[in-house]
Amino acid sequence: MKFITEFRDSNLAESIIKLLRKEAYPNSNLMEFCGGHTVAIFRSGIREVVPKNVKMLSGPGCPVCVTSNSDIDKAGKVVRYPDVILTTFGDMMKVPGSYDSLYDLRAKGYDIRVVYSTIDALKIAEENKNKKIVFFGIGFETTAPTIAASIIEAKRRNINNYFVISVLKLTIPAIKKLLSLGEVKVNGIIGPGHVSTITGANDWKFLPDEYKIPCVLTGFEPLDILLGIKSLLDMIKQNKQELVTEYLRSVKPEGNIIAKEMIEKVFIVDDSDWRGFNVIEKSGLKISKEFEEFDAEKVFDLKTESSIKNCGCKCDEVLRGIISPVECSLFREVCNPENPLGPCMVSSEGACAAYYNYYVE
């Protein structure tokens, strides 16, 4: 099995597209929550092949994009402590905080290193015993277990120069917030395939049950997404509200139990500051008392002046699905991937970057 090609089969895709076009579906707004889906939809040109009366909206599911200025300012502050090496995922480097991006700070001489995983950060800690290694922990339920694992491992191996700034966020409270704001009409939701692999499909039943919105948990290949869209449109047409798992090769009803236990062991649920939403109750993960010696916010003073909002950037509205990136007056000429004013243009999974990189005008 080649494991990629099958899910990009153009003949199968063609037959689903034919079915989509044959059926007369009602006007519908479908939201993909996850930034990975946003990119996959653009990269495979799906917006062009769905029926004209179906509008695809991008949600706030890009961890880089929703990381607030106040969170980034913490990273900007910690590098100024002596002997600190900040480690981070590459996508965070260019996001402008209130003052500087990590990119700017690195060029100024601060030791900031891009890593692919927390294991790399731990390794740097072991190899630099006289330095303090801080990992900038952004992400959703998908990243949280790997960060939890690194903290558990650091404790087990007595690595006492490894610290984490935990600005991890939980997706479900954000979706609830978005829907309760009522700013956009959403008829169906393409649920996040990777997040639900961890949380389990069961956690997503609230969408049909409480909000009467059909939801499909789907994968990231063109066929996954096309099948997901068809399934949502069928439910909308038949006025059915259900949770469907299309991504059966990854998502189980109960999720990944081991990962969930790790999250529970290391973190406690707390309020969190989201770009686009401000503080959302019980939507973040902070390091628990048991592991507080690894909590960078306890070890360093990372409190910053109230964060500054980027002038003119409409990322907030993009993240809430109210406007499409091309409706922002800064898009392309002023704000672009080389000179991003907002995080949605920085992150490879941001809606603005996806429009900029892939959209055929």
Binding site: R8, S10, A13, S44, Y116, P337, E338, N357, Y359, V360
Partner: protein, 335 residues
């Protein structure tokens, strides 16, 4: 604060092009340089010559399928032959870090000597510098090359024309992924090998077959996407490519998928993209396929009048998207 040079200024993408145009080209500007090709073509009396230079800083210096020495010879030869020149002579400059292993150095220069012999070029001048430990990373190599154009060719990045077919000489992304999978901190078990090789024999055969090649370039840093964007910009045309036609090895696809790379942006060190008149495209592909260097050659798209300066990809499911120029630093020190 004074502006600093960022890693992305060497990425092959948008930032590098801007840095070159705004800072470097401005100071050195002259008609030959301003063509912004990977080599310059000029006349000395009756002879038409091509001249090119390139520096190699790849990390790690040894990777599956080759080492920094192979790149240094093949890379500069390829830059020369992309305008149709026959490469003649090379210079070599080494910058070596104190403490570098002599055995490793010998392996590298053996590779260089073999590559040069295979391509039929001689290294006729050189320079060696050693810097203190920590002031360079193991070894950096610069090569310059000179070649001769034996006829009245005008193969240039600004010469692609609507209707031209776009041909690639083989699979995409092998070199970049071979280097990346061996880089410290990533290390994936895979059998991906660099495609580093000299393309002068292949180009010789292509030029014997036809004089209808308008533009050629080797898609190194920044990959196929960046090269296509460069040609679209220089020639002020649009380019359409078809996802279905892109030759990509399964192992490269898989590694790209795991690490989040788009193979279109991954470096190649032994491939060329040619823009040719449509009536000879298919026969030229046949000629290319009869060689080792071009055995996987195929047509991947065409030049269009619409969408000037843009590259459009027709996706395998029938949609389309823009393929933009590389932004930021995808992969520093890939060659």
């Amino acid at each position: 604060m004074a502006k600093k040079i960022l890693l992305s200024y060497g990425s092959g993408g948008v930032m590098m092009h801007r840095f070159i145009n705004d800072v470097i080209q401005k100071k050195f500007s002259n008609p030959l340089l301003d063509k912004l090709n990977d080599q310059s073509v000029f006349n000395i009396e009756k002879h038409r010559l091509a001249f090119s230079t390139d520096s190699y800083v790849v990390d790690p210096i040894f990777f599956p399928g080759g080492n920094i020495g192979d790149l240094a010879i093949n890379g500069t030869i390829n830059d020369l032959v992309m305008c149709g020149a026959k490469p003649l002579y090379l210079s070599v400059g080494f910058i070596i870090e104190e403490g570098f292993d002599i055995d490793s150095f010998e392996v590298i220069i053996d590779s260089m000597s073999n590559c040069a012999k295979k391509a039929g070029v001689n290294i006729i001048t050189g320079d060696t510098k050693v810097v203190q430990s920590g002031k360079a990373d193991k070894i950096f190599i610069n090569t310059s090359g000179i070649g001769i154009l034996e006829n009245d060719l005008n193969i240039s990045g600004d010469n692609a024309k609507p209707g031209d077919k776009v041909i690639i000489s083989g699979t995409i992304g092998d070199h970049g992924m071979a280097v990346l999978t061996k880089r410290e901190g990533i290390m994936i078990d895979s059998d991906i090998k660099s495609d580093t090789m000299a393309l002068n024999r292949l180009v010789e055969k292509m030029l014997i077959h036809t004089d209808k090649i308008h533009a050629m370039r080797d898609p190194t840093r920044g990959g196929v996407a960046t090269t296509l964007n460069e040609i679209a910009n220089q020639s002020d045309v649009g380019i359409t490519i078809y996802e279905k036609n892109l030759p990509i090895r399964e192992n490269v696809k898989a590694a790209c998928e795991m690490l989040g790379f788009d193979p279109l942006y991954v470096a190649n060190e032994g491939k060329l993209i040619a823009f040719v008149e449509p009536d000879i495209a298919e026969s030229l592909v046949e000629v290319m396929r009869s060689t080792d260097e071009g055995k996987d050659a195929c047509i991947i798209g065409e030049v269009i009048k619409e969408y000037p300066k843009k590259v459009i990809l027709k996706t395998s499911i029938g949609g389309s998207r823009v393929v933009s120029m590389l932004t930021g630093e995808q992969l520093p020190r890939i060659c």
